[in-house]
Structure formats: structure tokens, C-alpha cells
Symmetry: C2
Subunit: 204 residues, 2 copies
């Protein structure tokens, strides 16, 4: 099993290699930026798995991923990152990455993840992928008052102002006011867009 690791932090490369070599029978290669990685892939044939650091010279977001995938005959290429948020992880997977590894992962889990991806499976730590969603919820939710959230919930269920007014025991005009401030705070043009933004943020 041939694995290529590309990361500009020498420490990360070395520990990763040391650990994988000790615990598995994998054949490892490493380099410190994308261009060298691409060269190595061309020279030493397709790897069973390529690990790319997300913030590494030459990566340019996810275009580096696509280049590596092309170079490696569409064999598994995964992204590894210490800082990238969950949204990047999702994008990476959508772009055909074999997985996404946050550097916060335990070493044992990492080995298993590597085995997984080399076997052709797609891997992403469920914890990481779901945890951060809650953060976003709060980030958006804490900008809104309790009332506004209540009204926003109504919007997301497609209720009219009148219906929301009945449910909240307020006047219809008041709901209009809240809808307007919601649109301002969420930078939405109208109620529908506000509802979509709330939905996108994982709220409700």
C-alpha cells in the first residue's frame, strides 16, 4: 500500500510518517508543497492514497485537490487540515475527495481513516461534521432576539403574518415589524429569502 503525504509543516509530516510506519506496513512518501506532490505522483505512479494539507503552498483552495485527483488517476486523495471549517470539508467531499481529516484527530483513528480511504471508502469524522453546525446556529441565532427567532420559525414553516400573529398572540403589524428587522439583520430581500438563510444556517 503506497501513501503520499504532502504538508508544509515538517513536524506534521514526520510524526505522521513515523506513526504510520510503526503501526502499519505502508510504503510512505512525503513532500512539502503541491507541485512536488504532483511531480512525485507522476514519477512514482498512482498512490493508493494521497493526503494533502489544505493550507499548503500551491493548493489555492480546492483546485489543488482537483489537480491531484487528475494526476493520481482518480485514486483516493484526501484533505488534511488543522484550521479549515466544516464547510470546506463538505466542499472537499463534494469535489471528489476521499475524505477530510482534521488535525485534531487521535492517531489511532487516523490510521483507521487512512486504511479506510485507501480501501476506496469515503471518510469524514462524523463528530467534526456535525459539531460545528451548532456553532453556526448560535452565531446567527445570538444576533436575533427571542421574538425574532419565534417569528423566523413561523416564516420557515411558510406561515402568513396573520397566522404568526395568532400563534404568538400579537398584532399582525407587529409581526410585520419583526419580519422587516429580520430581513435587515439577515440581509434578506424578503421573507422567503430570510427563511432560506435560516434553513441554510441549520436553524430549525
Amino acid at each position: 500500500m503506497k501513501i503520499l503525504i504532502a504538508d508544509d509543516h515538517e513536524l506534521v509530516r514526520d510524526t505522521l510518517i513515523a506513526f504510520l510506519e510503526r503501526e502499519t506496513d505502508m510504503h510512505l512518501a512525503a513532500c512539502e508543497d503541491l507541485n512536488r506532490a504532483l511531480e512525485t505522483i507522476k514519477k512514482e505512479g498512482p498512490f493508493d492514497l494521497v493526503l494533502l494539507d489544505y493550507s499548503m503552498p500551491g493548493m489555492d483552495g480546492l483546485t489543488g485537490l482537483e489537480k491531484a485527483l487528475a494526476a493520481n488517476d482518480n485514486q483516493p486523495v484526501a484533505i488534511i487540515s488543522g484550521t479549515a471549517p466544516r464547510a470546506i470539508a463538505q466542499q472537499a467531499l463534494d469535489s471528489g475527495a476521499a475524505g477530510f481529516l482534521p488535525k485534531t484527530m487521535g492517531a489511532k483513528s487516523l490510521i483507521n481513516a487512512v486504511r479506510f480511504m485507501a480501501a476506496g471508502e469515503v471518510f469524514a469524522p462524523v463528530k467534526f461534521m456535525t459539531e460545528v453546525i451548532e456553532e453556526e446556529e448560535n452565531a446567527l441565532a445570538k444576533k436575533l432576539t427571542a421574538r425574532e427567532l419565534q417569528v423566523l420559525d413561523g416564516l420557515c414553516r411558510g406561515q402568513s403574518n396573520k397566522e404568526i400573529a395568532r400563534e404568538t398572540d400579537l398584532q399582525e403589524v407587529t409581526i410585520k415589524l419583526h419580519v422587516k428587522t429580520l430581513c435587515r439583520k439577515l440581509e434578506a430581500k424578503n421573507r422567503t429569502m430570510a427563511a432560506m438563510i435560516a434553513k441554510d444556517a441549520g436553524l430549525f
Copy 2:
């Protein structure tokens, strides 16, 4: 490493055990329903991983999962199923399951998944979790004509009828018509609800 497998299909139990014993050094136990599984857990102490079939006598949806988690000192308990849809998988993970294994998984991947979960990670096959979304997309999308999808896209971006009309080079009244038929087909009361339904279905 101690693993307990509970499945009412003897064939599944046997092949699983045979495979895991041959490929790993795990100590395996097996039983054919939830009650026996709970007894085994109590008698033979906490397991490093418990695999529960989702449709097995005594499971009663996910309450069986919770019982097993309690019995096993909150050590990893995972759900394995051949038929359960992705929604169940999500619920299971939310309820504290260590993972979700569709029976369609390859044997090699399965071993890795077992290792993973025994190590305390949460596992779910990304392919499975995202694939099914596409099915739903189509189920909804194929009820709609091309035009209607085009209009629905506009709704989801919070556009007004007029804006959609400009983009599609149609009259505003025509957009109104499509919105109406969309609401009928999607069983929505208004444009906002239609947009939310589309979003929920994973469309756009």
C-alpha cells in the same frame, strides 16, 4: 478487544464472526435478539463494541439502542441494518450510537469501521449518508417539469415573480401560474413553504 454481535439472521452473524476472527485478533460473542444481548453484556462485562441489528426482536426502533448503551456503560454501541433509510441512521447517531453500518458495506471497510468505533470514534459511511439524498431529490424532482424546477430555483433564491420572469424571459403572469402549480404539487400553502420543501428535499 471484545466485540458483541446481535442479529437475528444466523447467516449474517456467522459470516461476520468468521470474517472478523480471520482478519483480526478480536474476541467475539454473538446472540440473536436484544434481550440475550443485554444479558450477555451484563454477564461478560462491558464490550469494546456492540453491534445491534436495527430490525431484531426487542429493538423497538431505537429504544433498544438506548438500553444497550446503558447496559454497556456507554461504551460504543453501533447499529447495523440492511434496510433502514438514512434518516434512521441520523437518528441513531443523534441518540448516541457509535456508528451506523449498512449491510451493503464491503467486508474490508467493515473491519475498519469496527476498529474505528472500538477506538471511540463515531463512524458512518459518507457515501450512504449522502447518496440517499439524491434519490429523494429525484423522487421530488421528477414530478416537476423543467420550467417548474427553474421557477422553484428562483423561489429558493428569494426572487420575486418579476425577477424570475426577467431571468426566464417569460411574463410575470406565467411565473404566477407556475408558482401556483408548484404549490399544488408540493402541497405548499405559499411560495415560502414551497421553497422550504425544496430545500428540505435537498434540492438546490
